[in-house]
Assembly symmetry: C2
Homo-oligomer: 224 residues x 2
DNA sequence: CAATAAAATGAGTGATTACTCACTATTATA
DNA sequence: TATAATAGTGAGTAATCACTCATTTTATTG
């Protein structure tokens, strides 16, 4: 059915994405306040009155810059998708996968994980909002899948298969391998706060990445 | 600070948990309607008017049984925690880990994954709500961590360390191993709909579990 | 500096919100 | 069958919602 809700819905925001430099102070303030509130209490629980107050702005000013409350959400979320998708898929991934394709899969994966972890750490709040709202807004969910997964998946599949042919990876269904890589990455990146705070401190991010990749490559079982 | 928000907050709902049998038809209907709506559009986006309509009940009836809208949420979420936590940790896990502790780690894990996958499949909507709201409600998040993770973690840690001593698992930090198991499980269970629908069909749940466990144990790298 | 445009304002809008309450209908108990 | 308790109702309530618009403030330009 009405397929391109991404194209029609979010993509325009991505294209119309303003530089921060061409926003007024007030507009930037509205975005900042929205990110804060959406991340703290969610989109629906944050009222435009609150946003205005937090931003130090009249409520009407919000609607001068964004024609609806949902527009604010999309304006908040779009840049993250761009950072997640465009640089990742079109630059980072292409670079990582094409330029580094000769390197061992382990190194490629380490670089990938490091890249993603940094991105998430730098955009914690907006990513929280993004994931949060992806549950309910079709546009966002589809955009997320379209940008983050769809293109990336093909590349990863190709790399996986190439590395299988080269004997570097075991012969397993590509899908199973892809999912394993994906789950390791998401787990590494998303479930940091599940454990006790003192357990975090025990290992640095680099160590966490190293262990994650090591286990992904070699498993947890011994090889007696 | 005011620590036991779980005890004070959710636990009472768990204890006061009514049998379905001692609910009226209307009350059950309210719960069913709430689950449906909360899962579809989220807690905040679902109005009590909608719930009443969906449930075929006067709006006042809702507030006869639940003193606030949030109470409905807790009533929806509590049973899942009980099913997830108590039986899981206290029964399933104890059984799996104590009775089956002699079995290879691989088999224990397979059993665990199978158990969790079924639970999620059977409670898809409520688990969606649970995770969703855990983002924002401290009580729910803390309850989730307290019930699902905290106790389970210790048991898993002990098993992991025992299996390391027995030479069945590699010598790695327990934390890294625990996280790997956790990520595999969550990934297996939560990210089924990320892939194309036709890719699901390709492998059965049992096969997915088998590959997940295999990769967890042996990794994706070859052992030339 | 005057004229024009853009940005910002906040009181006001009708719709909707969670929730109350006086009341009726049903069921359980004595 | 009378009494009491529980279940159910829906109109009503104040508060809040996203959003509008006539007006004022600030910035830009000729």
């Amino acid at each position: 059915m009405n397929k391109p809700s991404f194209e029609e819905g979010l993509l325009q925001y991505v294209e119309e994405l303003k530089d921060e430099s061409e926003m007024t102070e007030k507009q930037k303030s509205i975005l900042r306040a929205s990110i804060k509130l959406f991340a703290e209490k969610g989109f629906h629980a944050s009222s435009t009155a609150e946003i205005a107050k937090e931003a130090g702005v009249a409520e009407g000013t919000i609607f001068r810059h964004y024609k609806s409350k949902k527009d604010i959400l999309l304006a908040v979320v779009a840049p993250v998708l761009v950072k997640f998708a465009a640089p990742f898929i079109l630059k980072d991934i292409r670079e990582i996968f094409k330029e580094q394709a000769e390197k061992p899969f382990k190194e490629v994966t380490t670089e990938l994980f490091r890249n993603r972890l940094n991105l998430v750490l730098q955009n914690e709040k907006t990513i929280r909002i993004l994931l949060q709202e992806a549950f309910f807004h079709d546009e966002i969910r589809e955009a997320l899948i379209a940008t983050v997964f769809k293109d990336a998946k093909e590349m990863v599949y190709k790399l996986i298969e190439a590395k299988m042919d080269a004997g570097e990876l075991r012969r397993l269904p590509s899908q199973a391998v892809f999912r394993a890589v994906l789950h390791s990455m998401i787990g590494l990146v998303m479930f940091r706060q599940v454990l006790d705070p003192d357990e975090f401190a025990e290992y640095s991010d680099e160590e966490q990445i190293a262990y994650t990749v090591d286990i992904l490559m070699n498993g947890i079982g011994s090889r007696e």
